[in-house]
Each structure stands twice: as C-alpha cells, then as structure tokens.
C-alpha cells in the first residue's frame, strides 16, 4: 500500500512539474451529470491538441493549467456525451455532462448508494422515466411490465388500481415471493391494503414522479438487504429539481376503456332449445322446460336479455399532472400534483387517485446536505367481486344469468326478481345488475411516504448519511348491502366497515468511503438499520336501518357477527458492510456482508448472516482489445451469495401462544397457536454469470445473464398428523431451484437523419424445480409437491371426450381404461405448469422528424392455465347456467362425434352408482401462451420554433392504445389474468380481466 501511495505521490508531483513548465494560468471547475446533478469523478479533462490533462476528483472537481490564450477543454467520460468548451478568458468552468443513452455509463442506484453502471458487478436492470412517461398505467409496476429481463409482472386483476404480481427471477419460495420495495430509501408496503377490491399500495406513488426504477436481481446487488433480499429488490428514486433551472410542465390525457374478448353466450332462443333437450333427455316434460326457459319455437314465450351487454360498458379515464421543479445552487426542489380517474369496463368499478409530492434538497453548509421527500396520496376505489365462483360477482353472473330473464321490467324500469319465472331458483335469486348497482364496495386509501436524510461530508473520502423514513397507509373499506337487494332484505340493510392502519418506519445510518489511490479505486460502506412495521385493523358489521338511505353505524339497530380487532407488529435490525475495489476500471471486486435479525424469527435463530461476493472484468480496457473496433464496451460479471427471505413468517408465528377465538354461550373461546421457536429465514444461494456489451459504436448494447437460485430452508407448513388437531407447523425444510437465462438487447436499427428506428428487446427463459422436500420424500402425495416438478403444476385426469355412442363424458383411469367418473386423485397426472417457460417484451420506436411511434409487445409462453369458468359455461345445458354458444353443437344421435355432451337436466346421469371425477379433467386446461400489444403510442412534438413563438419550451400531443391486440390459444377471457399465474393461488373462476384502453393527450413544458 505504501508503494501505491508513493507512486501516486510521484505521479502527482510529475504532473505538477509538467504543468509548471507550461504554466500560464489555471482553470478550475466541477463536473456533474446532467441527469442527476451528482458529481462525476474520474472525468478526463484534456486541453485539446495537447497531452495536458487531469482527472476530476471524487467530488467532480478539477484544476488544470491552460495557456494565457485559453484553448479548448475536452471533457470525456465513458457513458456520457463528450463536451468541448472554449475557455476564452474564463477561470471557472463548471460542466454538466449529458448521459449517452446508448452506453453503459448511466448512474445506477444500488442499495444505500449510487454507482456508475460501468462499475457494477451485480445484475441490475434499470428503467428510466422516459420509458414509462404518459402511460395511463396507475402504478409503476404495471408500467414496467415486460420491460425488464428476469422480472415477470402480471396483473392479478383488471380492477383499476388493482394489484399485480412482480416476481424477480422466478419463484424461489413456497411461502412468499414478494420482492423488497424501497422508495427513496424507505421500505414501503406493496400489495393490497384494503379489502373491498383488488388494490395496490404501490399505486399511491404516481409513476410520473419516478426518475428511475432499479431492480437488484442477483446476490452481489441485493445482499446488502440481507434477510429480505432473496426475492430481489426494487429501488425507486423519485425526481429531483435541477440547479439553476425552472421547469414547469403540465400534461393531460383522456380516453376510454372497453372489455376484451368476452364469452359468446347463448340468447334466449338458443338457451330455451338446449334446456328443452336437457329436460326431455332426463325424462322430464318439455312443458316444464318451457315454463322456466321459454319455448324455443314460440317467440312470444322468449324474452331475450343480454346480461353481458348490461353489465359491461365503455368506461372513461383521464389523468392530469403538473410539476414544477428547479432550484438554485444550494437548494433544489421538485413539486408535483396529479389527478387520475379510471373507470372500468364493468359497471360500478373505478379508481381515482390524487397525489402530491415535494422533494427538497438543500446544501446547508459545504459539508452538510439535507434532503426531504414527501409523497402524499389518496386513492378511492369502487370494486367488483371477482376471483371466485360467486353468484354476486359480475364476472360469474354476467355470463351465467339466464338470457330469458330480463334484469329490468321494461314497463316500470324496476329490477325484476331473478329468475323472473322462478325467483330464487338460480344464483341465489341474485339479480346481478341490481346487486352491482345497489351494493357499494368502496376503498379509501390514504398514504404518506416520506423520508428525511442528512448527508455530512467528513472529509473528501468519508461521508455520513443518516436517514429516517416513514410509510403510512390508512385505509377504510365500506361494503353496503341495502335491503333493497332482495337477498339482503331480511337484514334490514347491512353496512360493514373495515379500518386498517399500516405504519412502517425505518432508520439507517451509513458511513461511506470513496477514494482513489492512483489506479486503485476503493469504496466502502458501513451501516446499520432499524425497521418496525405496525398493523392495526378493526371491523364492524351492523344491520337494520329504518330507512335505506341511512348508512352510518350509529343508525343501525343491531351489530352482527364478531368485530375484528387486530394489533400486531414486527421489527428488523441489521448491520451491513460492503467493499468495492477496482483496478483501472478493469478488474472489479466487491464483497457484502449483512447481519440481520427479525422479531419474526424464532428465539433459537433470531439473527443471521448474509453475504455475497462479486467480481467483474472489463476486457475492453485491456491492450489486446485496443485495436478492435467492434466492441465499445464489454464486461464479464460473476457473483455468488447467500441471501434471506423472511416474508413467509407471520408476526408472532415463532412464539408459542394462545389466542381468543369464537364464543360459545358467552364464554370466549381460546385456542393454542402451535409454534416452532426455531423458524427463521429461507436461505437462498444465488449464482450469477453475466455479460454486458456494447458493439458497433454503441448501436447494439445489452446484457446476458445466467442465474441460479437454490433456496433452501423453505418456510413450509409441514403437515402434521390430523389427529394432533393441527394441520401443520411452519418449519424450515425443503429446497427450490429457480434458474434461467436473461437477455437484454437495445439497438438502433436505422439512424438515417430524420428517420430513426430503435428496438428494445428482452427475454427470460426460466426453469423451476423442487429439489428437496420435508422428510426427504420424493412427493407429498398425488397432486402435491414433488421433487423434480415445479412448485406449481396442474394435476388432472385425462379427459377422453364424448362417447359417440351415448353422448356422455369419458375419462381415462390411471390404468388407461375409460370411465364415466369414479376417478380418484391417483388417476391424475401432471398436465402442465402455470409457470411460464419464457417471458419478455419487445419495444420498437420509430421516429420521423417530430413524430414518434412506439409499439410495445409483451409476451409469455409455455404455461398451462386452468379455466374454472368452463365448469359453469360449458356444462352442456345440464343445469341452470347460461351456456356458451358452442354448446349448441351438443350430441344428438348415436355416432355423433362432438365435443359437447348430451344435455341432461340435473347433470348427474341418474342411476344408482353414478360417480363424479374427484379431480379436474384436462378439458379445463389450455395453453396460456400469449403475446399482446401492450402499448402502441404515437407522439408528435410540435416544431420547436412554433412552440417557442408561443412562449413554450416543448409541446407534444399523443394518442395511444393499451392491450390493443392479443394472440393466444387460451380458452378463456384473458390469458394474462389467470389464477396461479406465477405462484398466485386461489380460484380460477371469474377473474377480472384487463381491458383495452384508448387515450389521447397533450404534454406542455413552459
């Protein structure tokens, strides 16, 4: 080390002496990035035409001798556009370098710090603001869908403001795969926070306020988050003001939304036909069918009503955003306000958000900088019942309701009883149009995301950062079921209110070190962090209102059911350390270690150590590469680490305890919570080998990564003997492997003056496999987790189609024999997996003069989806539900070869001994592969001379469509919103599909 220091000293001495000979006068200044205002170290400052030059220091400062006559200074930095400045008679020249979008030189936010992308050894993907600007997407996770390699994002509901599943590098955990979300240093809530509709805490953050989104994918990148890092980390940085500028911009857009590909249902005449056949086949008189469903041959008995037409409509949406940002040398601010309203394509479903953000940064002294970020939002949502075979869910009942039973009496305009001919005989007598219109299902979500941080520069090499962050969500959900809806009449009207408060805070302190010793660049960070998450919930149900316009709790006559009162919390604390070293920007090494504890972990295992190592090599800097002119950059990366995931443990799950539960005759019940005081984090061993490249003068660039995550100590609810009275106990057992290949390519295909065509492509191939199960067994039973299979797969019995002899459905038994039923779970087999084999996105951007066309396609494939709707809608007219039109191709005569069986009222081919398949037939499974034009947008920037003549700096107008075209073989409404997408469990009945949106708007910069 001494020798390095000595060399450094000598080099500096030499430079000083060289400049001494030519010395005339000195120019000083500071080089910062135009994108983020951060200082740029190691920028080459060169006097043009000479060998005189100097690098900038860690703060971006330089000092260079120039001749009296001045000259031209060249500022060169990899990844930034080279700038030349005529010195003339200036002595201070501050320079802002603009990033070169085509290169690898961007700044990347890593855990607790910022690094140049060039210097990163981890796998980090970045999405910048301009990629998601003006997309009417409610939340950033929806906006980046398909845009990041290795990150699979799927809507779990088409509900406006609804939740999404974001999975980084596949499914690592049987318990929970939610990544960690950090917004401006604050760990924030994700997922649903209120109960009356699918909702998304992340939608409280206006995507227009986001500057960058970084996804930390591998161990080297994420290990600094220790026990929470195994599912990856999403780091979001909001926009800041820039020095010495003022930017005022407004944007507005409006449009409409329509449903996509709804089921083609029978009309009254068609339904009457199949019902008549079903009755007659079952030995019942046709007249009974006519009485209920009308006579197909007598139009006067048919009274057609299109339920789907009444339930689905064209919804409208608009958004308005305004922002003001700027500042002085010392103080910068960013202020924004947004208003957004989106209706759904289903009636009585909408989402509204108001958001405000104020980010302020102030340099109090030379050494101290204070930053405050404050985001406040309110969401208001009207929700639909979805994701279940619910008679009061519109995505079930809009299709199953009988077409011969009009929802409304055309004479009076009043709602009819359902079904008109025999009220109560179908769907619990629930008139879905009436129910959805009269019921109120509303969420209010108020959120504050805020942080305050101090940055103190102890010396050029040392900086201390202290941050305190707060993430607060206060929600109220209301469900009103007025007595006007017949099914609720006996309640006298019912109101349910649900109040939840989530309050998370975290504080961290870091000591950062950054210094170059000649060709040796060293940086390190040492820090500590505390986090606490509190959650409270209270609910109450009341019934009996003397007047149905009264809705307050105090106006009801009685309470109903038990109120819910929840008060819980968990804590985490950790210390961490990371060191980075590089030699000549050629060889990089980094090591991270974090020691993390959580109150969720069992007393025996409360604290754990997580770590990673990474190395990279940039051969582009080697001499042997200097003569080639294909590669502009080339970097090889490897990393290995051990990370944790503790999301799968409940707050006090490791504490043996007793809870209250249910009363009998006035005595409150009590139950034992069986606990394992050894449970702790899932241990994920993550390997990554990657390559970053830029070729052909940066025309093509991107990265290629191979990853493998072996996650052991799975938090698995290990089944116990049922006779113990406990279903299972959480323990750390089993191993899951998620591995894959990620490819990202950015290219400029054509750059011919006025016309430019750029592409962005990413694809991820993934494989998921259970490596080890509790107790070392090969399988947990038929249809259950099995070694060698993915964590999620479909288990079904092989459907053999319709017997041409008699029109009955047939299945294959495990031994290959045909049967009409009597199937057990052992007759099933793995038919496929809901986990996609590959997914990705392709964006093409065409620019001609001021006109830009973006076409973004998102795709996934190789997954198999089970569609529960087929149970209801393809039952050959056997029951009460309306049927898809294709059921008219039913079996009629012996010898008919058809896919639709013989209609038979009641469904069960009566006769003693008839039995049902115990598991799902493959008839309900179909290929979930799809590609979708997620976004197509046309933007026109008004000519700048015209714009400046009217006193503006930029005006663009745009039109766009979301989800315009979908290609798929899926036998259902929407291949994107399917149950058990990724690891999502739950019902595959009546999902809320996404819609097709069309908007147009204008964006003005003053």
């Amino acid at each position: 080390m001494k020798r390095i220091l000595l060399t450094c000293f000598m080099l500096m001495a030499m430079m000083v002496s060289i400049s001494a000979w030519a010395q005339d006068r000195t120019v000083t200044g500071r080089v910062t990035g135009a994108d983020d205002g951060l200082p740029l170290p190691q920028v080459t400052v060169l006097l043009k035409g000479t060998t005189t030059g100097t690098p900038t220091d860690a703060d971006g400062n330089y000092r260079l001798a120039v001749p009296q006559s001045g000259g031209i200074l060249v500022f060169r930095y990899l990844g930034y556009v080279t700038q030349e400045i005529d010195v003339q008679n200036q002595s201070i020249i501050n320079v802002q370098l603009a990033p070169d979008a085509q290169s690898l030189g961007e700044v990347v936010v890593t855990g607790y710090g910022v690094e140049k992308k060039r210097d990163i050894t981890g796998a980090i993907s970045q999405v910048r603001a301009d990629e998601i600007e003006n997309l009417p997407m409610q939340s950033f996770d929806r906006a980046v869908q398909g845009r990041i390699a290795g990150v699979q994002i799927q809507a779990s509901s088409g509900q406006p403001g609804g939740s999404l599943n974001l999975r980084i590098r596949g499914i690592n955990s049987l318990a929970n795969n939610t990544p960690l979300y950090i917004v401006d240093g604050v760990q924030v809530l994700s997922g649903g926070v209120a109960g009356q509709a699918s909702n998304n805490a992340l939608a409280g953050l206006n995507p227009e306020d986001i500057a960058t989104i970084e996804v930390l994918k591998d161990a080297a990148a994420a290990a600094i988050y220790g026990a929470q890092a195994a599912n990856g980390v999403v780091v979001i940085t909001t926009k800041r003001g820039k020095q010495n500028t003022t930017d005022f911009a407004v944007s507005f857009q409006g449009g409409f939304v329509e449903p996509i590909g709804l089921y083609d249902m029978m009309n009254a005449q068609q339904f009457a036909e199949i019902k008549e056949v079903a009755y007659v086949n079952a030995g019942l008189p046709a007249s009974s069918a006519w009485a209920r469903f009308g006579n197909p041959n007598d139009a006067s008995t048919l009274n057609n009503f299109d339920w789907a037409d009444a339930m689905f409509h064209t919804g409208s949406l608009y958004s308005a955003n305004a922002r003001l940002s700027g500042g002085s040398e010392k103080t910068q601010f960013y202020l924004s306000a947004g208003q957004e309203l989106q209706e759904s394509f289903i009636i009585a479903s909408s989402w509204e958000r108001q958001s405000m953000r104020l980010n302020v940064q102030h340099q109090a002294t030379d050494k101290l900088t204070v930053t405050a970020n404050l985001g406040v939002s309110r969401q208001n949502q009207f929700g639909s019942i979805a994701n279940g075979n619910f008679v009061n869910g519109p995505f079930q009942a809009a299709f199953t309701s009988q077409p011969n039973s009009p929802a409304i009496d055309p004479e009076t305009g009043a709602y009819n009883p359902y079904p008109v001919q025999a009220p109560g005989s179908h769907l619990f007598g629930y008139n879905i149009l009436e129910g959805v219109n009269l019921e109120r299902r509303e969420n209010f979500v108020g959120q504050v995301q805020s942080s305050l941080s101090l940055q103190y520069k102890i010396s050029p090499a040392f900086t201390v950062n202290v941050l305190g962050g707060l993430d607060w969500a206060d929600t109220k959900a209301i469900n009103e079921r007025p007595a006007l809806i017949p099914v609720f009449a006996a309640t006298g009207g019912q109101v349910f209110e649900d109040y939840r408060t989530s309050l998370n805070w975290n504080t961290n302190a870091t000591l950062n070190f950054n210094k170059s010793y000649g060709d040796h660049n060293v940086s390190a960070i040492l820090g500590t962090e505390f986090f606490r998450s509190n959650f409270n919930r209270h609910t109450v149900t009341v019934r009996g209102f003397s007047n149905q316009s009264l809705r307050l709790l105090s106006q009801a006559t009685n309470y109903f059911g038990s109120p819910v009162g929840t008060k819980t919390y968990f804590t985490r604390a950790g210390v961490f350390m990371r060191g980075n070293y590089n030699y000549k920007s050629k060889y990089y090494f980094n090591a991270t270690v974090r020691r993390d504890g959580s109150s969720r972990f069992g007393a025996q295992n409360r604290v754990g150590t997580f770590y990673s190592f990474g190395a990279s090599w940039r051969p582009i800097e080697e001499d042997f590469m200097s003569s080639q002119n294909i590669f502009n950059d080339l970097k090889l990366r490897v990393s290995y680490g051990v990370l944790g995931n503790s999301n799968g443990i409940g707050n006090f799950q490791a504490v043996p305890s007793f809870s209250s539960a249910a009363q009998y005759q006035g005595t409150q019940g009590q139950v034992l919570n069986l606990a394992n005081d050894q449970i702790t984090w899932e241990r994920s061993e993550q390997y990554n080998i990657g390559l970053d490249y830029a070729i052909l003068e940066n025309r093509i660039s991107g990265s290629l990564d191979f990853f493998r995550n072996d996650t052991g100590d799975q938090l698995f609810n290990t089944p116990l003997p049922i006779e113990s009275s406990f279903g299972g106990i959480i323990s750390n057992v089993g191993t899951v492997r998620s591995e894959g290949i990620e490819l990202e390519v950015q290219s400029t295909n054509i750059d011919a003056g006025d016309f430019k065509w750029q592409s962005n492509f990413n694809i991820t191939f993934q494989n998921n496999e259970v490596l080890e199960l509790p107790g070392g067994v090969e399988t947990l039973g038929p249809g259950n987790l099995t070694v060698g299979q993915p964590v999620s797969f479909n288990w079904g019995v092989n459907y053999a189609g319709i017997n041409p002899a008699n029109g009955r459905e047939m299945y294959y038994l495990a031994n290959g024999d045909l049967t009409y039923g009597n199937l057990g779970v052992n007759d099933g087999y793995v038919t496929g997996s809901p986990i996609a084999d590959y997914f990705g996105g392709l964006n093409n951007s065409f620019t001609y003069k001021n006109l830009t066309l973006d076409v973004f396609i998102q795709f996934q494939g190789g997954n198999e989806v089970r569609n529960g709707d087929l149970f209801n809608l393809d039952e050959f007219g056997n029951n009460q539900n309306n049927q898809r039109v294709r059921n008219l191709q039913y079996w009629r005569n012996p010898g008919d070869v058809t896919t639709i069986g013989r209609p038979f009222q009641g469904g069960v081919q009566r006769g003693f001994g008839a039995e049902f398949p115990g598991v799902n037939g493959t008839r309900q499974f179909s290929d979930g592969t799809y590609a979708r034009i997620k976004n197509i947008g046309l933007t026109y920037n008004l000519p700048s001379d015209f714009v400046s003549r009217i006193g503006l700096s930029n005006v663009s107008v745009f039109v766009q469509a979301i989800n315009l075209v979908t290609w798929t073989k899926y036998d259902g409404v929407d291949p994107e919103v399917t149950a058990r997408n990724n690891d999502v469990g739950g019902s595959n009945f009546a999902v809320f599909p996404v819609g097709k949106q069309y908007t147009g708007g204008i964006s003005i910069n003053f």
């Binding site: 059911g561 049922i722 001994g913």
Partner: protein, 476 residues
C-alpha cells in the same frame, strides 16, 4: 489507510455483536397470551371447553348442516329440489362424497383434552366450576368420538368382513410438537369403551338440568345420560339403552310436543323437546353464512316473508318419504309445496332467529322415547316398547299400534324415519342395524347393500399421508 481499516473493523465488530441480544428484536405480542397466563386459571380452561362447543355448530360439515342432512340424502328421505351442486353426490352415494368430520372432530378432542390436562392443577381455585368444566369437556369429547366412530367404522357386532377399526384415540392434550406422534386406529369396541367412560364421568360430574342453567345449550347430567342411551342403542345394549332412556324421561324438563304444537315447535327459538341443543349466536356468523351454509337455506326456497331471502332450496321430500306417512300424521304437514305441485319443502329448519339462524337440537325427547321403545322391544319387552311408541304416535295424531315382534321393531324404525327426517338419523339407523340402504326411485331405486364399501366414509387423504399408522377403510 491502516487506520481507516482499523476503524472499520472496530465499528463492524461493535455493530455485529450489539445486534445479538437487541431488545428491539424481542417479540412482544399484545394480541395473544403466553401459556402461563392462558392456562393459569379456570377462565382459560373454560375458553378451550367453549371453543369445542362452538366448533360443533360452526363446522358446516357437521351439525351446522351436512351432518344433519347427509343422513337423509345418503338414504331415501330426500330428493333434489334445485341443483346448486350440493348434495348431488350424496343422493347417488358417490364414493367419497359423504361425511367429512375428521379434522374438526380431532380439533374438538384436543380443545377438550387441553382443558382436561390442566384442570387438576387448577381445581382448587373453584372446585365446583372445575367439576362443571370437566363434565362439559368429557361430554364434548364423547360426542366427537361417537360421531367419528359411526362415520368411519362399523358398530360393534356389525362388522363387515371382520373389519373392526374405528378411529385413533389420542392419548392426551397436544400442547406442543413434542406431544405429536402417529397414532393407529383403535377398534370400535375400544372407542365405544372410551365414549362410555367419558359419558359416565360426565353423568357424575355435570349438574342436574336447571341447576347450572335453565337452557339445553350446555350439557346437563340428563343430557349425558340421554347420550349414553343413544350410544348403548348403537352398540346393541338394548336393555341398558332403554333403562337409561326411561331415567331421562323421568328426570328431564323437556316435554314431548303434541299433535297440536308439534309444527309450531320448530319455529320456536328453544325447541321444547330439546335435551341438548347447540346455540348459535348472532356473533357466530359472517354476513353470508346464513344464505350460503345454514340448514334453513338448504331446506327452504326463497321466502322473504320468513326472512329466508334467496334460500337455496336444495332438498325436498322424496316421494317414498311422503308415501310413508299414515293418514292424520301431523308430521306430514311439515312438508309444504309453495313452488310447485311436487316440490315438497320441509319446515323443520326455519331460521326463526333471523337471517337463517336458529339453534340446533341434537337430542330430543322423542328420540329418548324411541330409544326406550326400541330398547325394550329388542330386549324382549314388546309391551313396554309398544307403550313408548304409542305415546309418540298419540302425540303425532296417530292411533295406537298393536304391533309386536318384528313388526314392532319395523314400526319403530319407520317412526324414527318420519320423526327425525332432516336431522341426519336415517343413514345411521339403517347402518347400526346392518340393513341395506334403500334408495328413492328418483335415484334409481336400487338399495345400497350393507356390505358395500360406501357404508363407511373414506379416511381423508390428508390424514393418511401424515400418519403412516392409519389404514384406509376397505374399498377406497
């Protein structure tokens, strides 16, 4: 440089060691109790006892609904009214579509076992209360084992192919993982012995009717005795069954309904015949529990006038049941046909407490009367048996019978069919006697032989896969 490293190492060391015993990471739940507090007094014990009773009705696979109706659907008493997918399998005796109370029963058993485990050390706090709780715990445990035994095993003496396994008797409370092991199925005789021992204890421990509470919603000494009578009937100890039943009739305050008030009795909150009944409070249900899962929603169609809005109306009387009523039988009038000429709905479960809710009688006076009748008739005392059955007939609008011998026992079985329809007894009455299960013509009309494997329910797959000592019932 060295100094820098030294500082880092020092800070790192301090930080890492400080983390180890951080008070901040100690979980301090406010929403639950430690064992010391939870099981530190009789209130905690009472909580476990109560939890078991709540489970008996909150589980809709059990007395909340299925158990009360399966016995009719699996046999010949009912037919489908509206096809909502429910009871369709039971009506045709589809394999595996039968009773499933396995998990819930063992939960109740452990609720009560926890109470029984800690009671001895807490008894000094209030010996009378401890005695009451012990009696209640044993009563509930006996009920759980009895239902397990009759669902999953043959009654003693009625085994098919010598298969005599019932269910596993767990030895004690599971209070931690160390108490958990795999237990094999015990024989039916062993389980019956356990049930009778619990009930005998309950008889000794529980207060007389009215002493602790004037309601039948918690068991009294008389209720325990009534239950023991039922158990004796099932195992064929007819004389004992009759003896116990007659004692109950003498002791109980419950009264036999008459032809005049029988119909109305089903719409009263507390059934006058109830010796033991499950109480459902408005606190116990969710907002759609009634319309989704209650007894009344299955057996009634939409009837806003009685608060049964959108009732599902799944089951109606079978043609055969209706044909079995003699002229004048008041119980025939429990069946009405508001939605169509053949659509006969029962009016036993009326949800009279509002929103489909009602208390559920589990043991009624008329059952005791018929146990006494059958017990006497099958133990050689036809005269006493006939007297008992005629007492019921007189109160149901029927003339006295003079049957004896086989005709008398057949008459008693027929009376049970008509008296307890929609109370889940029919299937078990046929099964305990080793009789074939008749089926309605609408279900094909071919009887299920007693030797058919479906007479026993299947042990759930989940139980088998987690307890290697269990054996599945034959035929599954």
């Amino acid at each position: 440089m060295k100094k820098v490293f030294s500082i880092y190492i020092l800070i790192a060391f301090l930080g890492f060691t400080a983390c180890e015993d951080l008070e901040f990471l100690e979980p301090k739940p406010e929403d639950r109790l430690t064992r010391e507090i939870a099981l530190g007094d009789l209130n905690g014990v009472a909580g476990h006892v109560a939890r078991g009773y709540h489970r008996l009705h909150s589980n809709f696979g059990w007395y909340g609904q299925n158990f009360m109706l399966n016995g009719d659907a699996l046999a010949d008493n009912v037919d489908l009214l509206n096809n909502t997918g429910r009871y369709v399998g039971q009506l045709v005796n589809a394999a595996r579509t039968t009773y499933n109370i396995y998990g819930a029963a063992y939960q109740i058993i452990n609720d009560e076992n926890i109470a029984l485990e800690v009671l001895p050390e807490l008894a000094s706090e209030d010996p009378a209360r401890a005695q009451l709780l012990e009696g209640q715990a044993k009563f509930a445990r006996a009920l759980a084992y009895f239902d397990l035994a009759r669902v999953y095993g043959y009654e003693p003496g009625q085994e098919v192919g010598g298969f005599n396994l019932a269910v596993a008797i767990t030895p004690g409370a599971v209070l931690g993982t160390s108490n958990i092991e795999e237990w094999p199925r015990n024989t039916n005789v062993e389980v019956y012995t356990q049930i009778k021992s619990d009930l005998q204890d309950a008889i000794n421990l529980l207060p007389a009717e009215g002493a602790a509470s004037s309601s039948p919603y918690l068991p009294s000494r008389t209720a325990a005795k009534a239950f023991l009578a039922r158990v004796n009937l099932y195992e064929g100890s007819y004389a004992t069954a009759a003896q116990l039943a007659e004692e109950v009739m003498a002791e109980t305050g419950a009264t036999l309904t008459t032809a005049a008030n029988h119909l109305a009795s089903w719409a009263t909150a507390q059934h006058p015949e109830a010796i033991f009944s499950l109480n459902i409070s408005s606190l116990d249900w969710g907002t759609v529990t009634g319309v989704n899962s209650s007894l009344a929603t299955i057996t009634n169609t939409n009837d806003p006038s009685r608060g049964l809005n959108s009732a599902q109306g799944v089951l109606r009387a079978s043609v055969e049941l209706l044909a079995s009523f003699e002229a004048g039988d008041i119980r025939r009038d429990l069946w009405v046909n508001p939605t169509g000429p053949d659509l006969w709905e029962g009016r036993k479960w009326n949800g009279e407490l509002g929103g489909f809710r009602e208390h559920i009688p589990i043991m009624r006076y008329s059952e005791i009367l018929l146990i006494a009748a059958e017990g006497r008739a099958r133990s050689g005392n036809d005269a006493a048996g006939l007297a008992h059955v005629n007492m019921l007939r007189a109160n149901r609008g029927l003339t006295a019978s003079t049957a004896t011998g086989g005709a008398l026992t057949t008459l008693i079985l027929d009376e049970r069919r008509k008296e307890f329809v929609l109370e889940g007894q029919r299937w078990f009455d046929l099964k305990r006697l080793g009789l074939a299960i008749p089926k309605a013509a609408a279900q094909g009309g071919v009887a299920l032989p007693y030797t058919d494997f479906r007479v026993l329910a299947n042990i759930p797959d989940g139980a088998l896969s987690n307890n290697t000592l269990l054996t599945q019932n034959p035929g599954y």
